[in-house]
């Protein structure tokens, strides 16, 4: 049944009965109107026969037929048809006319036959001659009759045909109109973000579509339950991973604060770095998982300015370690989204800028609105990203060859995923003072 159009199906169902009704209607209208017309033509033919009969002269010895040429011409004049006649005595002898015009069989008054290669209607008229009756056969070709039949047929069929056509048009557009609530419903579903699993409002749907909406809502419910389960799992996984990592980090830092042989210290510093990297990686993987389509759990109104301001302290602390001048140009920028993910995206951008800028470098965090779109961006004066690399750095685990440091190559991939889950676009451009400017621009709103 896949791909079957409801409209086509309805039309297929409706067409045969409409056609049948059309035929019956035509027949019902046809016979009552064709019969009188034929009778009128027959009557006219009978009149001609009677007129011809008036010209039979009866003498004691014979029947004479005396039709002046002028009268014959009048009688035989017809715009469309040829008229023939044959006059016979009561005894059946030929008196005048076309002797080979066939007479109706038996005692029929009228019949159709062929004459001179044409279809003709023959009427037999009894006309008084003396004490008995002579027979006058009058025949006429069928042009007028055929034409009248055609006209009548057309006149009775045409309105029926119009009605049928109107019915089809009404069905075609009526179905479309009737299905409009469904179209609206599908528009509403299409317009949803992938993470929006709220039930569909059944109030706007037509009565017949309620079960469909109900089934969809049931499915949405199950999906969002599965989502919540996954979210819980992620939160648990985060807890399970982070707590031991925090312990590991604490102990390596305590150990590093002790006196120890230089060789030992170098090893321990490696352990410490690996711990921090692992912790960061765990965070990033969780963020990546959470940014996956459908995993987004919350959508709320967020001001990017406030979001950046709240994290400023953490970032400034990180940048102090690397002697980076971290600055802010924050203007209000309201967006709809997941606060955790947006904070993670911005943190990744700041982390990258701080990590890859030389000591003493300058990094600026901006939020605001540009051309009606809310945006956030981080600009640095570091080594920048060469244009051919700009697409690739957004891929997971890709690192520009020769990049110092210990990054996982996940940071920008996460930013891209998070941008995508907010229907926002990510851009990498040249910074004003060398370096680069990585930004996320949000859709209208």
């Amino acid at each position: 049944m896949a791909g079957r159009s409801l409209r086509a199906h309805l039309l297929r169902l409706l067409l045969p009965p409409i056609a049948a009704l059309l035929v019956i209607g035509a027949l019902v209208a046809y016979y009552p109107s064709v019969e009188p017309a034929n009778q009128a033509y027959d009557q006219a033919l009978v009149d001609i026969g009677l007129a011809i009969g008036n010209h039979i002269r009866v003498t004691p010895t014979e029947y004479r037929f005396d039709l002046p040429a002028a009268v014959e011409q009048v009688l035989r004049t017809d715009r469309f048809d040829s008229i023939y006649y044959r006059v016979m005595s009561p005894a059946g002898l030929e008196i005048a006319g076309d002797a080979d015009l066939p007479a109706p069989p038996g005692d029929q008054m009228a019949f159709n036959t062929m004459f001179n290669g044409e279809k003709v209607r023959v009427m037999s008229v009894q006309t008084p001659c003396g004490r008995s009756a002579c027979t006058v056969l009058v025949a006429e070709t069928m042009v007028k009759r055929t034409r009248a039949t055609r006209d009548i047929l057309f006149q009775s069929l045409f309105p029926d045909f119009l009605i049928a056509l109107a019915t089809l048009v009404i069905v075609w557009f009526g179905v479309k109109r009737g299905l409009q609530p469904l179209a609206r419903l599908s528009e509403e579903i299409k317009a949803r973000s992938s993470g929006d699993l709220r039930p569909i409002d059944a109030a706007g749907a037509p009565e017949e579509a309620r079960p469909l909406v109900g089934a969809l809502n049931g499915l949405l419910d199950e999906v969002s339950a599965a989502n919540r389960k996954q979210q819980r799992f992620l939160a648990d996984a985060a807890h399970q991973l982070r707590t031991p990592l925090a312990g590991l980090q604490a102990h390596t830092e305590i150990a590093l604060a002790q006196q120890m042989p230089e060789a030992c210290r170098a090893q321990l510093e490696q352990v410490h770095k690996a711990t921090i990297r692992t912790a960061r990686l765990a965070n990033q993987l969780l963020a990546l998982a959470r940014a996956e389509p459908g995993a987004r759990s919350s959508s709320e109104k967020i001001d990017l300015k406030e979001l950046a301001g709240a994290e400023a302290e953490t970032w400034v602390r990180q940048s102090l370690v690397r002697d980076i001048d971290l600055g802010f140009e924050l203007e209000p920028a309201a967006v709809e989204g997941d606060a955790f993910l947006l904070r993670e995206a911005l943190s990744n951008l700041v982390h990258n800028a701080v990590e890859y800028s030389p000591r003493g470098g300058r990094v600026t965090v901006r939020t605001g609105r540009r051309n009606g779109h809310a945006f956030l961006e981080v600009e640095d004066d570091g080594p920048g990203i060469a244009p051919p690399e700009r697409g690739r750095v957004l891929e997971r685990f890709y690192r520009v060859p020769g990049t110092p440091g210990t990054g996982s190559g996940l940071g920008l991939a996460i930013v891209r995923e998070i941008a995508a889950s907010h229907a926002a676009s990510i851009s990498i451009k040249d910074g004003a003072a060398g370096g680069c400017r990585v930004g996320i621009t949000f859709p209208h709103g």
Binding site: H239, P244, A246, E253, I254, A279, L326, G327, F328, T364
Partner: protein, 227 residues
């Protein structure tokens, strides 16, 4: 100072204990929320470091009971909440319940110790009229400042700015927050004016090693005093 650590992960708890003991604090550790509530009802602590994800009675419940005044001993003791969860609701919930600061695991130890110091300083500042920061001392009652025990001349506005920064050492204070704290009714202070006061403070304090860092486009941060 007397600290209570409520953390069920033994390695992390012992690590924190060692670091904070190295800072010169007396540290008690318990892995159970119930025990923490019990301990807090008997003894006064200067700071509680509280993990949210505890078995049975979780950190939020412990916090709620502390703040609800299980005993009046620790009703206003600063609480630093540790969490492994990054859900924003957890953060908001913790702060709503009266947590004073919030850290997501894992964290660098210097950051933890800095925050602990800041919280302890704040609770001290509540108690006494004297605020100390390295060689700088402010007597908030007499409204007199001393640098290396020498009297330090501060204009009223400079004093006000310094007081705001001292209340939040190692924290960024936005220019707006400074303006709000400094400007009286009807005053109209521009951000530029704040810059002037800060630069005057810098010229007076930097020779003694006290540094006020500018966070470009945001505000200022009084750095931790280092010898």
């Amino acid at each position: 100072m007397r600290l209570l650590i409520v953390e069920d992960d033994a390695p992390l708890a012992s690590g924190l204990q060692r670091i904070l003991e190295a800072e010169g604090h007396a540290v008690d550790v318990t892995p159970r929320g119930e025990d923490a509530v019990l301990a807090a009802s008997h003894e006064k602590f200067d700071l509680v470091i509280l993990d949210v994800g505890l078995p049975q009675m979780d950190g939020f419940e412990v916090l709620r009971r502390l703040r609800a005044g299980v005993s009046d001993k620790n009703g206003s003791t600063p609480v630093l909440v540790l969490t492994a969860r990054d859900a924003i609701e957890d953060r908001v919930r913790g702060l709503d319940l009266g947590a004073d600061d919030y850290m997501v695991k894992p964290f660098a130890m210097p950051e933890l110790t800095a925050r602990v110091r800041a919280l302890l300083r704040r609770s001290l500042a509540h108690g006494g009229p004297r605020i100390a920061h390295g060689p700088l001392t402010l007597d908030t009652v007499a409204r007199r400042a001393f640098l290396r025990n020498e009297p330090l001349e501060l204009a009223a506005r400079e004093w006000a700015v310094l007081e705001v920064l001292l209340a939040k050492v190692e924290k960024i204070v936005s220019k707006e927050a400074i303006i709000q704290a400094v400007a009286g009714w009807g005053d109209d202070l521009s951000p530029n004016a704040i810059e002037v006061y800060v630069s005057r403070l810098r010229s007076k304090l930097e020779p003694a090693g006290i540094r006020i860092r500018t966070v470009r486009g945001f505000g200022y941060m009084l750095e931790e005093y280092k010898q």
